[in-house]
């Protein structure tokens, strides 16, 4: 009986952690695939989504709206933050560095990360923030005598729905396919008449929105403090490397693998909890530098 409980919990933890990893790294990899820029400030987008949802949830509650509306607040915060960042950061900054050498691109997005982190501090202050209402409202689930927060299940379901919508968007809509073809071959897309500038803005906005939505979803589960997101960005590097640079589907599968590895490591050898993810990444870079799933593209 205990074994089954354990298995269920491993399963749930893996899925939950993987959905967070996937939301941030699918977006990161999409930006990398289309714009050919590794956006070091992608992690801060997650933070912005999280912080904005604090504001939204707080104001919803202060207007006296019932707690269940805070879930709408979370979604709104994620989408608004993503669209706003997408339509400002890409046209104002990234567009100027496409022709530059890699190191300058990296450094520019690094600078952007520093700036955005302080903008967060400027708006929300250096103190910690918590919005536990949406988390507590759902209560707990009883799994074989162990109580398990239901909000995590909610997070997982919503996260997977968002990923599914993204998948459908990229595979079944015209714009989605145009984005994919631009990622695959920029030059030929130009020759087919694609407005590459606009595609870049769209792709970046979608990537950013995935991250901000991810931030909004995890916001109720953690205590937000400045700089909390810089760990997520390096985690998503690892995912992106394992999945293959620019490979969106690969990033999703790699998120699952990484989440499983982490969940198991936490139980067996907790000191290696995060290290294991980077160790897997190192191994993959050595054995299959193109990523695990190259050829399956």
């Amino acid at each position: 009986m205990l074994e089954i409980t354990l298995l269920i919990i491993i399963f749930l933890n893996t899925l939950i952690y993987s959905v967070i990893l996937a939301l941030i790294s699918v977006g990161l990899n999409m930006v990398l695939g289309v714009l050919k820029i590794l956006n070091l400030s992608h992690g801060v987008l997650l933070a912005i989504g999280a912080y904005l949802s604090v504001t939204f949830v707080r104001s919803f509650l202060s207007f006296g709206l019932p707690i269940y509306t805070t879930y709408i607040a979370l979604g709104l915060a994620g989408i608004i933050a993503g669209i706003f960042m997408g339509f400002t950061v890409e046209p104002i900054i990234l567009r100027r560095i496409y022709e530059r050498v890699e190191i300058q691109q990296l450094l520019a997005t690094f600078a952007l990360m520093l700036i955005l982190e302080d903008v967060i501090k400027f708006i929300w202050g250096p103190q910690s923030w918590m919005i536990t209402e949406p988390y507590l409202y759902l209560g707990n689930l009883n799994i074989g005598g162990i109580s398990y927060p239901l909000y995590y299940v909610f997070l997982m379901v919503v996260g997977y729905v968002i990923l599914l919508i993204t998948y459908i968007f990229l595979n079944a809509t015209k714009i989605g396919r145009i984005i994919r073809s631009t990622a695959f071959d920029r030059e030929i897309s130009l020759a087919l008449g694609v407005d590459v500038k606009r595609v870049y803005t769209y792709a970046f906005t979608i990537g950013a929105t995935l991250a901000t939505l991810g931030g909004a979803l995890i916001a109720p589960t953690i205590s937000l403090h400045p700089g909390f997101s810089s760990e997520y960005i390096v985690l998503s590097f690892a995912v992106v490397v394992v999945g293959g640079l620019g490979d969106i589907k690969g990033a999703f599968i790699a998120s699952l693998i990484m989440a499983l590895a982490r969940t198991i490591t936490v139980m067996v050898f907790p000191e290696l909890e995060l290290a294991i993810i980077f160790i897997i990444m190192l191994l993959v870079l050595q054995l299959r530098p193109e990523g695990l799933f190259k050829g399956g593209r």
Partner: protein
Amino acid sequence: MVLLDIVNVDVYIGNVHILRKISFNIEKGEVLGLIGPNGAGKTTTLKTIIGLLPLRTGKIVFEGEDISRLPARNRVGKGITYSPEDRRLISDLTVEENILLPCWVSGSMTKSMIEKNLEIVYKIFPEIKEFKNRKAKLISGGQQKMVSIARALVLMPKLVLLDEPFEGLAPMVANRLLRSIEAMKSLGITTIIAESNLRYVKQIADKIVRIERGEIKEVVENA
């Protein structure tokens, strides 16, 4: 009536001088063969016309309008399309999605227009229909070549640029492609074919331009 006029064009890639003062023109409805060995500058010429490479001096005039500084997508909008030498299909889209891509991009085409054009394309290349739902990476090189040309035709352009269209095609298919180009000609489509091999071009071109080391060597009317 001159459709496209190329006047004293110089093109550099990096610091390398690729095209040296090239000039030629093509009449509306003509088929022009651009002939020259490997590395002579044929692909560069086509890429310059479609707008993938900038020219340093000279100008390109299309239907009386100087298009030298227009971005590629506006040139496509004016009715110029391009099928590259190395096919360059989007390998995880299906064959039909690849062909439809330019229609989706253009945005101004109605569903019925797209369907009509697609039908014409399938009439020219009937075998594409058989594998239209397969992923582009899963068809053979010759088939990819056909799809790449079909993709350039689906917009029913005024001018189509074909880079080595016969390369990799079986002789039978190549002959059919010749017939297709003739059919396109009767539809009023003007064609520039870049080839290193005279064999097929000789059979169809109205005019042959020979290019070597980035210089136009001769322009001959082909009887």
